[in-house]
Symmetry: C2
Subunit: 148 residues, 2 copies
Amino acid sequence: MSTQKQNETPAAGESLLDALVPVAFVTMAVLNRIGAENDLSLTLIRLLGILHDRRLRMVELAHHLGLEKQTVSGLIARAEKRGLVARAPNAEDRRAVDIFLTSEGAELIARLRAQGHQALAPLTRSLSAAEQQRLQELLERMLDAWHG
Amino acid sequence: MSTQKQNETPAAGESLLDALVPVAFVTMAVLNRIGAENDLSLTLIRLLGILHDRRLRMVELAHHLGLEKQTVSGLIARAEKRGLVARAPNAEDRRAVDIFLTSEGAELIARLRAQGHQALAPLTRSLSAAEQQRLQELLERMLDAWHG
DNA sequence: TTGACATGGTTCGTATTGCGTATCAATATA
DNA sequence: TATATTGATACGCAATACGAACCATGTCAA
């Protein structure tokens, strides 16, 4: 028997959780492995992914990552030292600093995406094309609800 | 052994990735927040979750977590100091040590599950009961394929 | 039986990560 | 103009994860 619960949604929500959380852990493990192969932390991968099509300031970046600004500051310092990202003074606020990918960083994230696709193929390949699409749609709906 | 976009659904797999990875990150962020509220690291949460219905030895635990045994050793040491898990000599191998949840640890993980259910409700609630079930089924299929 | 090797766990030293606190420069507000 | 507030950084600390080194126990072959 499962742990006794409140009254809300009895078993349904809970068992979805029991599928969602392990899948999330597996996904993170895969990303982590890819990161290790490229000498990148999970957070740095995520950071590069966020900057993929954006140019953000420190606090914005921190907000996206759910981290404190000092943490991001150090993260950027290390990434900058490795030539993956670059800083530029913000045009509107002279206190602020814009962060963006260098061409090297952009190439790296592209390689990572290819590797990620490869590495997660065993997961996705177990579903038919139609099922993959259905799954993608459901996940995107959840994401939209989360952010909206 | 296929390159990133050969014959098998080129864009589809990639866009599934674009949904799966963000959902994984959101899920981890939620778990991380719940962990922070209870002064638990993500890894420790996972560890407790794994021990939820099992009694494992160090190396087994390390294998489940995808970590080295020394890492788990320290992790267990800290968890033990907090009274969440306990050690016992293994009956079959005198070198080995069994790790299991204390009643306090079991209560904690139950609380965490309730909190997780609450916290992820905004995600899951965006789907109907039928859709949730469909999603769960698809995720479980992927997980089975991964482990099997 | 006795070596030699393998396995399970722990300890130690090190690097990275993320946070709280404190600080400085630039902006906003009174 | 005086006083916050905001954006970013520097510093110190605790937790995490690893490799290397180390014991104790188990296994296997000669």
